[in-house]
Amino acid sequence: MIGEELVQLLTPEGERVANSDYESTLSGEEIFGLYRDMFIVRRLYNESTSLQRQGQLALWAPIQGQEAAQIGAGRALQPMDFTFPTYREHGIAWCRGVPPKDMLRLFRATSNGGWDPQKYRHSVPAIVLGNQVLNAVGYAMGIQRDGAEEAVMTFFGDGASSQGDVLEAFVWASSFQTPVVFFCQNNQWGISTPMSTQSKIPLYHRAHGFGFPGVRVDGNDVLAVYEVSKRALENARVGGGPTLIEAYTYRLGAHTTSDDPTRYRIDAEVEVWKHRDPIERVKSLLVREYHVKTAKFDEVTHEAEAMATQLREDVLAMDRPDPITMFDNAYAAPHPLIDEGRREMIELGVSGGSH
């Protein structure tokens, strides 16, 4: 299933692997930091799943199994870089500093976004998959015109790789040599549609056809994802043009909490991927090579629990917004139909009309 072209620096058992193109540059402390990120993001996933099951979220998009892909990419970014995510990039949002409660506003259905995208340099989530990839290339065209040494990273999956917008974005990025990194998390399933329906060739091969490099990395190996992302971003910042990274991974959970994956895939496949867990292999490395003690791992567990408790509290406190806020920011400038709607709502007494 996984070919020899895969960039891997750490086996599922947590053993280091030599690679002719890439080597890990991270210290033990930094690797522990990646472990911490992944552990906390998985806890965020668990807590959010519970919140959804308890009726506190309208929907939730699981990330379980994809933590290394997202944390590896997210930690390779520089503060001034900009990111264009889908609704599943909780790990990237975490790395960009988006507070967990803000990630859940969309899923609590109190907001269509949730955070200030300029503050965190992390765009609001795209749900029409593929759109964000073109938006990212446009942003990268702006970086070129500003003469800035910054890069854009945009995220999509194996499913969206079939969207016309993604392929148009490849054409644009190649023609204009924009500073963009296309980060494709190939998690093998687009809801129920298997990878084999999306592409008959490895996805990263597509890049060559468009005239820029493509790399397949073990998406469950955070060390490899970090190095591959770092190099692609550095290359983009100095005018080297786009790169397609295919992070080969697996969606261990359902597509969303509305999905039932037992209808379309077999348990044996899921079991195979559970053995490739991205968090366990780093933990093995940290214990064996850096002799990290149980107490230090326990600290992370406590930190994750505290985050989850706070998250639950914050989500439960997230009330239905005042209906009149639906008129805010529909337009930047005054608009008669907005005024009319506001007026009607106030007359109906639905809202206090404080806005």
């Binding site: 264009f84 907001s111 269509n112 976004g113 200030d116 995208p117 300029q118 765009s123 609001v124 795209a126 029409v128 759109n131 073109l134 938006n135 990212a136 290339v137 446009g138 942003y139 990268a140 065209m141 702006g142 970086i143 070129q144 015109r145 500003d146 854009v152 016309g164 917008d165 148009e168 974005a169 054409v171 644009w172 023609s175 805010d328 920011n329 529909a330 337009y331 930047a332 400038a333 608009h335 008669p336 139909l337």
Partner: protein, 328 residues
């Protein structure tokens, strides 16, 4: 007041030039807009003067023209996207409706979607299929967008500049059959705000409202009607979303009769919206129901037939007669 006679194509070109001179963040992007100057030459000479970084010849992909303009807007640029013909805007529809219209809201006002999407629309040039359509209602029906249309060189010159300066996304509909017609352009003062309607001819019996290429046809109908003793007041909507309904109400309250003219079929159209809104607001002033003169509910016909499809002077006068026949 300095006035110069120029075609609508030239007026748009000069307006774009002004907008680019005023603000370095203004870009133009589209197919063949650079060396060629656009298939209608609207951007003629602009790449030569402002460079390839600001007047961008794009690959052939409309979704990408608009989708990358969105990213440029997030970065603080104001891109004027050229869609080559009305019938080619649909590949970009997803980006326009899902991102352009909604990102200001989704980002709680942080992103300013300042971009202009220019679309040469309506028929009248004897083109082949997909080159004569009137897609304005699709965009007018989408919250988050604004839709405007010019009918004279003076409006073209000013409205394109006002659109570039505006902070909301603007769908800018250009009546391609009028590109080569000349008119006086006052380069000192704008004729009106971007979202104001204009009374093109005052009258007392029937208010006739239209936009774009239809205005000239309506004015001809008004000449003929005058000979027959009927006085038409001609209102150019200019802004299709939002509508300047107050100007229209004022006219209908005066005349008591309403005819709307458009090339689009009237099902769920701008004209239907005008009739509905004015019926509600002017119920006691109206002496006849509002009449719609529209394109027929068929795909735009082979253009050897287009003059039997587009509203003609005769069809407008027929609607005027029907409105006049109600007398109360």
């Amino acid at each position: 007041m300095t006035t110069t006679s120029m075609t609508m194509a030239k007026a748009l070109n000069e307006g774009l030039r002004k907008a680019m001179e005023k603000n370095k963040k203004v870009l133009i992007m589209g197919e063949d807009v650079g060396k060629l100057g656009g298939v209608f030459r609207i951007t003629d000479g602009l790449q030569k003067d402002f460079g390839e970084d600001r007047v961008i010849d794009s690959p052939l992909a409309e979704s990408a023209i608009v989708g990358t303009a969105v990213g440029l807007a997030i970065r603080g640029y104001r891109t004027v996207c050229e869609i080559q013909f009305d019938g080619f805007v649909y590949p970009a529809f997803d980006q326009i409706v899902s991102q352009v219209a909604k990102l200001h809201k989704r980002s709680d006002g942080v992103y300013v979607m300042a971009l202009v999407i220019r679309i040469p629309f309506q028929g009248g040039i004897g083109a082949i299929e997909h080159h004569s359509e009137s897609p304005e209602a699709y965009f007018a029906a989408t919250a988050g967008l604004r839709v405007v249309s010019c009918s004279t060189p003076n409006d073209a010159y000013w409205m394109i500049q006002q659109s570039v300066e505006h902070d909301d996304p603007i769908i800018f509909c250009e009546p391609k059959s009028r590109y080569w017609e000349k008119g006086e352009v006052d380069t000192d003062n704008p004729p009106a705000g971007l979202f104001d309607a204009a009374v093109r001819r005052e009258g007392t019996d029937v208010t006739v409202i239209g936009y774009g290429a239809s205005i000239k046809t309506i004015l001809r109908a008004a000449d003929t009607a005058a000979v027959e003793g009927t006085s038409l007041e001609v209102v150019d909507a200019r802004s299709l979303a939002p509508l300047d309904i107050d100007t229209m109400v004022k006219s209908v309250e005066k005349t008591g009769r309403l005819v709307v003219v458009q090339e689009a079929p009237h099902m769920a159209s701008i004209g239907s919206e005008m009739v509905a809104e004015l019926s509600e607001r002017c119920f006691y002033s109206l002496r006849a129901p509002g009449m719609r003169v529209s394109g027929y509910h068929v795909p735009y016909p082979p253009t050897r037939l287009e003059e039997d499809y587009r509203p003609t002077v005769d069809r407008i006068l027929d609607a005027v007669d029907r409105a006049m026949a109600y007398d109360s």
